[in-house]
Every structure is written in structure tokens, then in C-alpha cells.
Symmetry: C2
Subunit: 408 residues, 2 copies
Amino acid sequence: MPSQEKLRALAKLTVRSGLGLKAGQDLILGADITCVELARMVMEEAYDAGANAVIPFLFDEQMTLIRFNHGSDDAIGYAVKWLPEAQARALNEGTAFLRITNSDPGLLKAIDKEKVAKSMSAAAAAGKPTSEAISGGATNWCIIPAASPAWAKQIFPDDDTETAVEKLWELIFKTTRSDQPDPVAAWDKHCAEVEKRMNHLNSHKFESLHFYGGGTDLTVGLAEGHIWEGVRMYAKNGTVCSPNIPTEEVFTMPHRDRVNGVVKSTKPLSLRGNIVDGIQMTFENGVCTKMSAEKGEDVLQKLLDTDEGARRLGEIALVPHSSPISQSGVIFFNTLFDENASCHMAMGNCYTSNMEGYDELSEDERRARGANESMIHVDWMIGSAEVNLDGIKSDGTVVPLLRGCEWV
Amino acid sequence: MPSQEKLRALAKLTVRSGLGLKAGQDLILGADITCVELARMVMEEAYDAGANAVIPFLFDEQMTLIRFNHGSDDAIGYAVKWLPEAQARALNEGTAFLRITNSDPGLLKAIDKEKVAKSMSAAAAAGKPTSEAISGGATNWCIIPAASPAWAKQIFPDDDTETAVEKLWELIFKTTRSDQPDPVAAWDKHCAEVEKRMNHLNSHKFESLHFYGGGTDLTVGLAEGHIWEGVRMYAKNGTVCSPNIPTEEVFTMPHRDRVNGVVKSTKPLSLRGNIVDGIQMTFENGVCTKMSAEKGEDVLQKLLDTDEGARRLGEIALVPHSSPISQSGVIFFNTLFDENASCHMAMGNCYTSNMEGYDELSEDERRARGANESMIHVDWMIGSAEVNLDGIKSDGTVVPLLRGCEWV
């Protein structure tokens, strides 16, 4: 049993700082049935904050497995469109969105990779209106973690389930600041620190970033008019939210055609219920032209084959090695955590809020300035104590940013 | 733990006979999280039967309570429209619909009646597209029961929870025929028997029904062109389903303006989380002009106040006293069962399939022929060993139908 007090603190932090929920707002609340206890608390906090309607979408991972094990080939390649379309309309009209994540990283490990890829592509295509509404900043949204037995056992395989779950909850409370006397104030302080860093990066208007060390030598051109963002998001519906709790990163938009060099992964990636590790990619003019992985290469290959944009970058993010998540030394097999332990980049779709005036640009202009489009957005980790980073300005000036992944 | 074998039999019966699910069909599957085990089995059976997509909607009754206890007045009187609208579109395009019901009959007993009525009205108004798609026979649909601790304890308050749940499962298996060696064949046989009765009633083309005995003396005029239905439904998408499992009733459409006399309830009614008992209603020209109840009168009053059609009848149904549910002697506090223990009638909306050529008629013609419209449809029980029924033809011929609620 997690501490009820800290669980309550996490629920409150989620509604106040994570969602920045306004009185009179509707909220879509997505959660697996194994974390219904936290979901109920969030619902209480949301109504206490004046929510007009909290619409729960409860999932069951066993049903996901059933679909793979009993669905026909046609069923696996199919996803209904009406539900994500309806959700997207609600989001675009200002409904807030929360997802509590506690997936079993190994859920689909016994399922045929081809099937998983086919299913994920169908789901991504059907879910495009929703993911566009979210990545386009239409509304306030947030993802928070909850512990589940299957996930906890993946992280702490040597502990019994109860101990593993207990340990994971404690890590969640610590990294989200829910264990602080005033979590909302602690979160605000954290936001201010990240924002200082973010403003510094924005003031430089770098043309590109140069990662080097530990087998990586990669130049990431940044999109024209790129904006560094971090922690807080200013949504189009006038709200201010923190889309990820926890989060440590500052991130921006790479240029879809200006990425060159070699890059190695520094942490394993939990992808579609499989573990991918030891990734190496070669980029030429923005495109990943060569890829290998020591583990899970086939799953990653299928991901890159999703569409043209899946082989290009959509996000580049900086996280200092001293972040609490990194310091925990734990590999979470969950992007929400692992992306905050290390510098990372995302294959696929960009966040449109990372480009100045994106909404006013034509599609051709967006592409010309470097915006990448894809049905996927998958982060993987490239930072470590061996990796350094310089910012390069248009006049050639080199500004040291990270040394051994610590801010200079 | 219910028998896994019988649970599997119920799941199979549901998909095959209940839904008559066709290969390539989509299915909306609604269930409370406390019956996820049965829901998973239904999903397996649905995919095995060739379903293209099973879209689960999992509910949590505790969240329903949270909304009442933490929602503002505005929140209580509000229901999102986009979700039922999207579901209705799917249903009208041929998606099948299943609801597993295991509600706690006493869930809302501590909640202010006014609040409950306000909330239900809002939900009914928002859910109109969905309920219209279902009652209009757009697609194959089905409601089946599952045991839950709260429901079981309401029925068997003197047993410990485990025993109560066990007993309720056994009753469910028995009344649904899931305990038979071949439940699908047993269901088919049952259908054939009910259909014989139904055809007999249809052949008479009665002008009205006269219920009398045990304090009841009520003449229920039947709609012009009324059709008796039972067990099986022929949906507009070309499927054949059994919308209720279990079911014993044959039912048709009363005339909205031609109900006169006095009628008493014979079993308690579980309404909006409250128990209503000892109901007496007086009807004049179709309208309930006087109502009293020994218990829960205020809840019933609020129901009748929903709209103009809520005071008129939408359904009249005949169930012999010898039905297995009636013979069990158990009061289930759940309409799916209790309506099959006794003759009953429904306040509110009619089933359009109970009127010949309904779809081709104008709204005025439908009303003139007796069709009633309302946001509600609530059954209550009027049959007992003391109640008799005659059918009256347009030439005045009286045909004895039930004596002491057994078929003559």
C-alpha cells in the first residue's frame, strides 16, 4: 500500500500544477484499472478544483493482450477512428487531458513483432487527431506515473512484488516532489530553475548542436525559429500546464534535413512491450540511413518503417546528469522517467509549439524551416557522463553547453 | 470464484446468441471494473467469432459516487454529449453493443434525490442518440449480468460476501442457461417457446389488455399496428440478437393516450440507487395522474417529472409466474432479472420496433397511433399470483390470457 498522504499529494499536484485545471473545464482521465486508486483521487481533486466533468477512460492491459492473441489479422491491422476523433474534438474545444501511465514494459514481449508494428501503425493513424491536438498544444494535458506490480517487478526483479511496488512508489513520490512538505511550491521552484536554463538557450539562437563523446559524434541542426521549451506549456485554451510530471528536460525542434553523424543510445528503451538496447544510428541530411541495435533491432526497425518522418528527428532534449531521476541510478523502462535521466532525441513527429509562428505557416514553409511530421514520436536516450555538447551559432561561435552531461 | 467453465459458457452464449455477432463487426463492450474477468472472456469469444474491434468501456462505480460527492451543482447537471454522440454514430453504422450489468442497487442511497434526478436527466438527454440507436433496433445489442459483491450482499444480506457472490453467480448461470450442457441450444429452445406465445398474441391483434386482481384494475390500450416481440430482435443491420439474457417476457407498445385505471406494483424497483416499493398509480387517458409509493416515492416522483412522456407508458410486458426467475423467489433489485419474474410495464420511451412501419411514419402519425417518447424508460412489476389478464379485441371479444399470472 502506498502512503495515502503522498498519493493524495501527487493527485493534488497533478490537478493544480500538472494540468493547471480551470474551474468549469472538462477532463479526460485515462488510466489502467490497476491504478484506479490514484485515478479516483485525481477525480476527487479535479471536481474539488471545479471540474465540470471528468470523463474516465479505464484500460486493461490484459485486454490488449487478448486482442493480440485472439484477433484476426484484419483485427490487428484495424483501429476505430470514431473514438479518437471524438476525443480530439473535445480536446480542441478545451477539454483537458490526463494519462496515468503504469504500463508493463514487457507486456507484448511474446507477441509477434510484425503484428505489434501493424497494430501500432493502425492505432497511430486512427489516433492522429488526438495526438495532433495534444502535440499542437490545443489544451492543458499531463502524463503522470503510477506503480503497477508488473512494471515494478521489471525494475526490481530481485524483490518480491510487494516490496518492488513499494520501492517504485517511493521513487515516484520522490521524483515528482510529492514527498515534499509543499509539492506544489516545490514544483514551482523546479519550474523556475528549468525556465532560467531555457531562456538562456533561447537567447543564443543556436544554428546547431554538436554532441560528441562515448562513440557519438552528431550534429543536430535546429529548425529555423526554433523555441526551447521546458516543464511548463502555455496551451491555446489559455491554461498553463506541466505536461510531464516528473520532467527535467529542456527541448526544442531539430531541423528535419540537417542532422548528420553517428549517435549511440546510453540507456535501454521500452518500445511496444519490448526492450531495445545498444542502438546506433547514422544520420545523413536528417535521415537515419543506418541503424543497428544489440537487442530489439527488429522492433526498432519496424518503428522506423512506419512512415517517411519516422526516420527523422522530431525533438532534441537536454537533461543534466545530476537530475534526480538520473541520480536514482534506476532504469525505469518507461520514457516518462528514462527521458529525464539523460539527453535524448525523438524519432518522428515534432511538437509544433517548438517553432515560432507554426500555425501561421503553410505546410511547405513548415517543412522548409525544419518541422518533421510522422505518426510516431519515440524518445531514446543519448546522454551519459561521456557525452559533451556544444551549441554552434550561425557565425560559427562554439558555446560549450554540457560537459559529461553537466551544464557548463 | 465463479466456475470458470460456466463463466466461459456465459461468455460464449453472450457472443453467439446474445449478440449474434458477425465476423468483421465492431463491438462496444461496457462493463464495471469489478466484472473485468467476464468482460475479458467475452472479448476473447468476440475475437474468436471474428470481431474486427472490441472497444472496451470500463466503468467504476466509486467514480460515480465521487462525482456526486465532489462535483459542483453545475457538474451534477451536466453530461458531455460528444461521447454518446460518437457511440451512436458507431451503433448506427453497425457496431454491436454489449453491457455487462452488476450495479450496486444501493450505490446512491445516501445521495440527495434532487441531485440524482438532475444528474440522470442530464445523462439521459446527452445519451439520447445512443438510447435511440439501441431502442430503434439499429444494431445487435445485449445486456447480461455479472455478480458483484455489493449487488450480491443486497440480495443475500445474511450471507458473508463470498457466499453471497457465489449464490448470485449460480442464479445467473441457471437463469441464463449457462449451466446447461449446451447453453446455445438451450437458449434456442427457449426462444422457440417464447416465439410461439408471441405469434399467438400477434394473431389476435388485441385492441387492449385488461389487468385485474390484487388491487389492480387497469385497461391498457395497445398502439395501432402494435407488434409483440420477445427474446430475439431482428436488427436493421441484418443481425439477429437476444437483447436481454436472461429474458422471459413478450412485450409490445401500449397506446400513449389509452391507459385507464389503477395499478399496483408487486415487487420492489431498484431506481437510481434507491429502492422504490409499494407503488400505486392511477392513469387517465394514458397519463399517470396520481402516484404514491410506500418507499422511495420522492425518487419515483422525480423520475415522472423528467418530461411529458415520463408519465405515460412505453412498454407492456407479459411474463408467466412459472418463469425460472420468478420461481427462484429471489428479488434481485435489478431490472434485467426482476422484469422477468413478473408482468411489468415501463414508464417513458417506447421501443419503435413494437410498431409496424414506424420508420415510414411521420412524427404526428406515430403519436396518433400511440407511440410515446421520453428520455426515460423504466420498468416496474405489476404481475403476481393474484393478477389476471384478458385480451380485448376491437369487436369486444374477451380472450382470457393469464390467470394468476399463468398462461391460460
